[in-house]
């Protein structure tokens, strides 16, 4: 009947939205096992994060606020997370799958001598503990049911597989934990973060995504689909081919090894539909494919397929949607 710790990322003083999937998953597991749910947030200058984290319905919030955590490194955050968790009788440590959690939780697993499962789709509980997990393998062509031995289990959860925990009025109890971190000894330093600035929604949060692939033939092709995205208030995504070619920034890549998304509407333009791309978007509610090759595999999974040249079809689509909106 151990407790569930949910490690949350934060940005601009608030919890990152996709992290709320793990919060929901964690609260549900704690209900199933009789343990307590607890958000862990770490950083430097954390007053508003503390406020944000305490309103998602967990039993507790653990807060580590230390100048040594000002610039993120997995090395320092591992130590902080371990210090915060070790007195908590945790049986499960969760976080939503992200660049942050993917490199942090395996280090933490070693500190806790715990087994880890990545990017889980579901968690079952039995006998007061998390007993089973399901997850995708081989680019989503198989789903595996796995068990994990040990007193503590570490898991990242796929953001699209769990609802977000809603914000609540009542505030959770906050416990501050102090840590001692010798940053010199870590031999690791964050030098710079270059954010890809965009006024469009993030892929992880978007209700509609317009994605482009090799068929767009270059950055100018993306300008055409961006007009459609802006009309729909959509995020822009890309296939690996388009990112590798340098037409769009790397963090727009949708697929097995990029971002995994499941919006209400996914419009794939000039994307052939390689298994690695499909693995990242096949759980979208409605899929539209626009491709001039009638045999492109993307049509096998699209709800609506249009065989057409995007350079003509997408501007037409923009005009037609304007008429009906």
């Amino acid at each position: 009947m151990g407790n569930v710790i949910i490690i949350c990322e934060h940005k601009n003083g608030e919890l990152v939205k996709q992290g709320l999937s793990a919060v929901k998953a964690g609260i549900d597991v704690a209900k199933g096992t009789g343990g307590k749910s607890c958000i862990l947030v770490m950083g430097s200058g954390m007053d508003s994060v503390k406020e944000s984290a305490s309103h998602y319905g967990t039993d507790m919030v653990l807060l580590v606020d230390d100048p040594a955590l000002a610039g993120y490194t997995a090395e320092a955050y591992t130590i902080a997370a371990h210090e915060a968790i070790k007195s908590m009788q945790a049986s499960l440590v969760l976080s939503t799958t992200s660049a942050f959690s993917k490199e942090l939780l395996p280090r933490l697993a070693v500190r806790l001598k715990a087994g880890m499962v990545s990017d889980v789709l579901s968690i079952s509980t039995d006998g007061g503990k998390a007993s089973g997990f399901s997850r995708a393998m081989w680019a989503g062509s198989m789903v595996s049911d796995v068990s994990v031995d040990g007193e503590v289990i570490i898991a990242t959860v796929r953001g699209t597989a769990f609802e977000h925990a809603p914000r609540v009025d009542t505030a959770s109890e906050v416990k501050q934990v102090s840590v001692t971190i010798n940053t010199q000894a870590l031999r690791a330093k964050q030098l710079e973060v270059l954010e890809h600035k965009s006024t469009r929604p993030q892929l992880a949060d978007a209700g509609i995504i317009v994605s482009g692939g090799r068929g767009l033939k270059g950055p100018d092709g993306f300008k055409i689909i961006e007009k459609l995205a802006d009309l729909l208030g959509a995020a822009v995504g890309a296939s690996r081919a388009a990112v590798d070619a340098g037409w769009v920034p790397n963090d727009l890549q949708v697929g097995q090894t990029g971002k995994i998304v499941a919006p209400g509407l996914y419009i794939a333009v000039g994307i052939s539909g390689a298994i690695q791309h499909v693995a990242g978007m096949k759980d979208s509610k409605t899929i539209v494919a626009i491709n001039k090759d009638p045999d492109a595999p993307i049509f096998q999974i699209a709800d609506y397929g249009l065989v057409a040249d995007f350079a003509k079809a997408v501007p037409e689509l923009v005009e037609e949607i304007k008429k009906v909106k």
Binding site: S98, A99, D119, D145, K189, L194, N250, I301, V324
Partner: protein, 250 residues
């Protein structure tokens, strides 16, 4: 400089896979196996670092005898020698990191490069577990690596959510390779011939002193329900009509 690269034998990402009758793995008969694509990028990066700073590149792979095919493939790219850890039991990422930690103790490399994930199980844990076991810093999801002139630090550009980060790590360190780090070279015919003569040392888990005790066990594999294709629409007007009236997403 000595650079250690880990490589995993994985089923060809394009291969159609079938579940084994016992339900806990895939049928391997008739399936083509390759070096995990991210590990090929790791090998390429190691070779480039060696070409610039001189030194030695060593690859290690764990599994049964067949993984020596993938070791030879790396040797044919230009890697100097291989280590084959002969182990046929089941293991998880934690165990892999534990085995690799023992190899690192013996080899004492300056840099260890791994692929950011294996495309078969997509766990993506072993590199970071290894870093923590060794007490080394890590540069995850690297898209650019620069080694300092004094060979004491590496400046690494990393692909993170929403952009790029640059991180400085002291050597020895762990780097995991992302897609944009480089484009791996093809092995030339002379290098394929030369690779046959290069040394591959076989070791056992016991001889390394590693303990394998998996935490994570696959109980059952299933094929998820296939998404059914829908209809082809004739025109943009037709599409908009269906999106508005049928799917109700506009």
């Amino acid at each position: 400089m000595k650079i250690l690269v880990t490589i995993k034998r994985v089923s060809d990402p394009e291969a159609k896979l079938k579940i084994r009758p016992d339900g806990t793995g895939i049928q391997t008969e008739g399936v083509k196996f390759v070096v995990n694509p991210f590990d090929e990028i790791a090998v390429e990066e190691a070779l480039r670092i060696k070409e610039k700073h001189t030194g030695e590149v060593v690859v290690v792979s764990i599994g049964d005898k067949v993984v020596t095919e993938q070791i030879r493939a790396a040797l044919a790219m230009g890697v100097d020698r291989g280590i084959f850890v002969n182990y046929t039991g089941s293991y998880d990422s934690y165990d892999v990191a534990g085995i690799l930690a023992k190899v690192v103790e013996q080899e004492q490399p300056d840099i260890i490069i791994l692929g950011k994930q294996a495309v078969d199980d997509d766990m993506g844990q072993a590199g970071f577990m290894l870093a923590e076991m060794l007490g080394y810093p890590q540069a995850a999801f690297a898209s650019k690596v620069e080694i300092s002139d004094d060979k004491k630090t590496a400046k690494v550009t990393r692909e993170i959510d929403g952009g790029l980060e640059t991180k400085e790590v002291g050597l020895p360190c762990i780097i995991t390779a992302d897609l944009r780090l480089n484009t791996p070279r093809y092995a030339s015919l002379p290098n394929i011939m030369k690779a046959k003569q290069k040394p591959v040392k076989e070791v056992t888990v016991d001889a390394l002193g590693a303990v394998v005790k998996p935490h994570v066990t696959i109980k059952k594999l299933t094929e998820p329900p296939k998404r059914k294709g829908g209809v082809k629409v004739e025109s943009v007007q037709d599409l908009v009509g269906k999106l508005k009236n049928e799917a109700k997403v506009l």
